[in-house]
Amino acid sequence: MTRVGVLDSSNLTGGQRLAVKYFTVALILFGAQILFGLLAGLQYLKPDFLYGVLDFNVNRMVHINAMVVWMLYGFLGSVYWLMEDEARHPVVGLKLGEIAFWVLTLAVAVVVLVYLFVQYGPGDIKTIWFINEGREYIEAPRWADIGIVVVVLVFYFNVLATFMKGRFTGIGGVIALDLLALAGLYLAGMFFTPNISVDQYWWWWVIHLWVEATWEVLVGAIMAWGLMKTLGVSRRIVQTWLYIEVALMFGSGILGLGHHYFWIGTPDYWFEIGGFFSALEPIPLVAMVVHSLYDAGKHELKSSNHPALAWLIAHAFGNFLGAGVWGFMHTLPQINLYTHGTQWTPSHGHLAFFGAYATINIAFFYLAAQQWRGNVYMSAGIAGAWRWKWALALLSIGVLGMTMSLLIAGYEQSFIERAIEGSTWAGYFKAQTHPWFMQAMWWRQIFGWVTAAGYLLLVWDLLAIGAGETRTATQVGHESEQAQAGAQAAPAAA
């Protein structure tokens, strides 16, 4: 029997139980991301801090790897979460999915321990296979790459088989095709070449075509389901929007890859291609803001899960601002010549990854917390609502503050190091020691602590929200889904 307000795994389906395992690891890795970000940030201010013990390159590597992995865990968890509801069928091959989860988690733990305690290896191919591949974001050694591919194939089997046995909705179809591209692209990063131009060409296939194409489409599909779930928006509306977004996202994002090919030895026709298509990249993100706000307004913000809806709205804005606006600001080659490889990039990176991906994962953490406590009430007037509101505020203010600080550092670096000093090492250091740069780094650190405080509050809230609440969740959406199902069935019957 469902016990409302009590954390009980019997409230969850098989797929949801697996999803919360993914969410739990994701949340822990989110904490690791923040911790190692704080250590790396502090090394800008106190360069002798942990020198020779945990150097900047180790902290920074763990910082960005924890981010990539927790986001992937969040996505996998979110897909497991929505799969059964969407396909109207239990997860096919759940046992295999469970094993894949434990294998992946063990592999992640081993990789992190090797990063921290072995750190680096000799200049031969064995280091790439067993210690560290030394390529930003995809540092995981080759053995782990192969493990990741196997786990993703198992996950893909779960997804495909479940939708095929149940029903293939538009959301299901987009997820299935997108995951195929996401898994396939990872292979582009699994080889060694001494030629750095060829190396970076394919490296961007993984990094860009994941982050600015397949991930965006995946969160578009997850968002579509989230809006149906929290607001009760009709399937026809969210799916039509989803297709429009996919067309715009892939239409701009695939060739938008060209904005990474300005300075790596590649031909200069990428100036025009990269500049033009990446300038279009914000358009689908505007579409997402418009449609999520329209839907929220149309349903008068009556949602079944207030914190989840708030994070979904944060996602729409964060994605547009962080990925769209901040990306566009330095995407044209004429400005990128000065900003490429400066603090502009982390300024964009912080807001984009948080805005586009952290937010939507957190929204799903709240959906999971709600169901785990027996589909407990999470709309207006819940006890301790200050916690989720302050967690949202502190995390958003923290990340926005870091973004602005790094942007100022980036402006200063572009002008002083690049435009005035001519990009030499002396110019680099002149910019790095300038008072404006150092002030920006202090502010970045302060806002980093604000982000950490928001994280702690978020964890507390996820553990506590809904405890002792006796009401069940506000009902949304069923009428529109049923009405629509009836409308679709009627002509067929006729």
């Binding site: 390159n57 590597m61 790439i128 750095i196 300005f262 030895g265």
Partner: protein, 199 residues
């Protein structure tokens, strides 16, 4: 109830999404074939590894409006001219060392990486080495003991000792020299090179 116009139908947008995605991907594949041809080692944009036997400079190109690498007279690295195979093996060792020591999480290479330490694209040509005649030796000394040879330029940031062997350090220097000869469309811009060959 009025019928949904064609431009608002799910089916229309589903087909559009598939068509746009497929078309974009086909164009990307086609461009990839062309780009690969242009960036293979030994092409006009990315030189052979044996370029490390020559002087490399970075000079303005009037037509293009920015600096491009120029391959000069013979000037072998560490005074020893290498065959194409030897040079390729050395540069390969350099790349493996750069990856194995995780250089990219402090430095940028071709502008990609982390921002805690300077960009290495034109490290070979940087005036910070003082004079071209002592550059190789200074680089070797620095890479093998960065803690005691640190020049932090007021930042206090020192490269950690990553215990490079002499062979690895020389390979990294060869790699940096080769990388400085890649045509990067003028990045880094307005760069002021070290004086070489009586310039």
């Amino acid at each position: 109830m009025e019928a949904t116009p064609w431009w608002a139908r799910e089916g229309f947008w589903a087909k559009t999404a598939i068509f746009v995605t497929a078309l974009s991907f086909v164009i990307l594949i086609w461009l990839t074939f062309d780009t690969m041809k242009q960036i293979m080692a030994g092409s006009a944009r990315v030189p052979d590894y044996s370029v490390i036997n020559h002087r490399i400079s970075y000079a303005p190109d009037e037509a293009r409006g920015y600096q491009v690498p120029k391959i000069g007279p013979e000037e072998p690295l560490f005074g020893k001219k290498l065959s194409e195979e030897e040079a390729a093996a050395l540069v390969r060792k350099g790349k493996l060392t750069i990856q194995g020591r995780n250089c990219m999480n402090c430095h940028t290479l071709l502008g990609n990486g982390a921002y805690f330490a300077p960009d290495l694209t034109k490290a070979w040509l940087d005036p910070a080495w003082g004079a071209a005649t002592i550059r190789e030796q200074l680089m070797l000394q620095f890479l093998m003991d960065p803690t005691n040879n640190a020049r932090t330029f007021g930042t206090g940031r020192r490269m950690p000792n990553l215990h490079l062997t002499e062979e690895e350090a020389k390979a990294v220097i060869a790699y940096l020299k080769w990388m400085s000869a890649i045509d990067t469309n003028g990045f880094p811009y307005n760069f002021k090179s070290i004086a070489q060959g009586g310039e």
